[in-house]
Symmetry: C2
Subunit: 254 residues, 2 copies
DNA sequence: CGTGATTTTGACGACACTCAAATAAAGTGG
DNA sequence: CCACTTTATTTGAGTGTCGTCAAAATCACG
């Protein structure tokens, strides 16, 4: 995969004003007053990360904070034994970067499609955090939301078998990345099978077989490998163990 | 197990002043100024939860916040299929409760030994959070620490086999609950095998077999079922995949 | 259209789960 | 304090799910 430095600043006309930003309505910057928002925008640099680009790398310094406005990023940690655990897929509205630490990122962040993000210098962002308690509180809520999401993932890995894991994955993906107008039954899967496997704690073969089984049962269709159509939502909900979908939230990547 | 209401306020002489509290040096209350600390102590009710007592229950309102000063609590979530995932074991310095929500606790918290805790009314605690940004920021750091700890747990469940999981569990337990003077080679295990199993995503039989195998290999000794002595730390570190132990931190339970 | 990477399918084996029984520990009442 | 009950843990035997290894098919890209 191409991981060359393909970071570019977006030109002025591409740099939408915060007031018209789609990500804002769901993210932390949508929960602060005009003054704080102005200060935030003043230190932000809208940036494009092309597909495959490493946003930041595990164990390397983290001097920036990123607020994703478009595209998708995967977070993963490489293990000593050569394994790889993907800890999350992040999209519009999600925050990632050095909120906690300026050195030794816990994991690597990589764009799986072209990604646009507001980039803040860590120092400036933390200064705003001190000046605007609302922003700090908003981040605290985001962080506790993230802990809850991680708890769901822990349950998935600790107590669910293959079909249950894939069903939950498809439903969450369809729900969180619902594109305007879509009802969540057409799920875009921009990540590779390897990524899904490493996210669900499985092998690619097992993931592939699970997809095939879902097709055979008529639960889904796969017009493309990167696109699933959910044909039997009740069955998938049943498998995933969802009574109702979790309320929309934003993630906080480290 | 006895889960009757055995909550009692500690008498005045048992209620140690914050200035002499052992938990304070590691917890959030150790990172705020004297004024904020005074306000915090003013609304705190030191409370005893006897062994087996439910501190709060999954899906029930959460009108309090708890700061553990002694003992150990387990957090778990009951699943629709009858399963149970333990998401964490909390001890002195750890926070739990309704920081995010006043209704619908994510999981149940239960004392596995007698537990002492400072109990704060949620409303009052949140008010202090707004008035003292330092406290809010301190909690944010605690929350991001917790996210990182959950990431470790996700890796454990997603990519580790049985011996690796148990080795990691024993080392973390020995490290985090190190009693004064001890070097972390004598590990207290106040939780049942079932709890360890549900924490590590295994069955009790598998956990028991793993303990037996570690004994056979001379890695550990089990003077009592609730106490392990680590005899071969290098081997356990190797298995757990730890280069060095994570730095001490406090947890944040929801 | 051809090349390389990704995904799918197949055969086989191992690790961890299930079921079942024995042993050990903890709690209870005389 | 001891016999008894109950609960927790250990040990054993057999099974199934998912991982491993290998090859074929499909997809992406120039």
């Amino acid at each position: 995969m191409d991981t060359r430095n393909q970071t570019t600043l977006l030109s002025e006309d591409e740099h939408r004003d915060c007031r018209t930003c789609l990500a804002r309505q769901m993210s932390v910057c949508g929960k602060i007053d005009q003054v704080a928002l102005g200060r935030l925008q003043a230190i932000s640099r809208p940036t494009l990360f092309t597909k495959g680009r490493i946003v930041f790398e595990q164990d390397s310094p983290l001097d920036h904070i990123f607020l994703i406005t478009g595209g998708m990023v995967k977070l993963f940690r490489l293990l000593a034994d050569g394994g790889r655990q993907i800890t999350g897929f992040l999209g519009p509205g999600d925050l990632l970067g050095g909120i906690k630490r300026s050195a030794g990122a816990y994991c690597t962040a990589q764009a799986i499609v072209d990604v646009t993000a507001c980039v803040f210098p860590r120092a400036g962002f933390l200064r705003l955090l001190q000046e605007y308690p609302d922003l700090c509180f908003s981040l605290l809520i985001t962080a506790t939301d993230e802990i809850e999401a991680h708890n769901d993932h822990i349950i998935l890995l600790g107590h669910r078998r293959v079909p249950q894991r894939l069903a939950a994955f498809l439903l969450v993906m369809g729900h969180r990345w619902k594109t305007n107008g879509a009802d969540g039954t057409v799920v875009q899967l921009p990540m590779a099978r390897t990524d899904i496997a490493d996210y669900l704690g499985l092998t690619i073969e097992t993931v592939s077989r699970a997809f095939a089984e879902f097709k055979r049962l008529g639960y889904i269709a796969l017009p493309k490998t990167s696109q699933a159509v959910l044909l039997n939502l009740p069955a998938l909900y049943e498998l995933a163990g969802f009574e109702d979908m979790p309320t929309p939230r934003v993630s906080l990547g480290l």
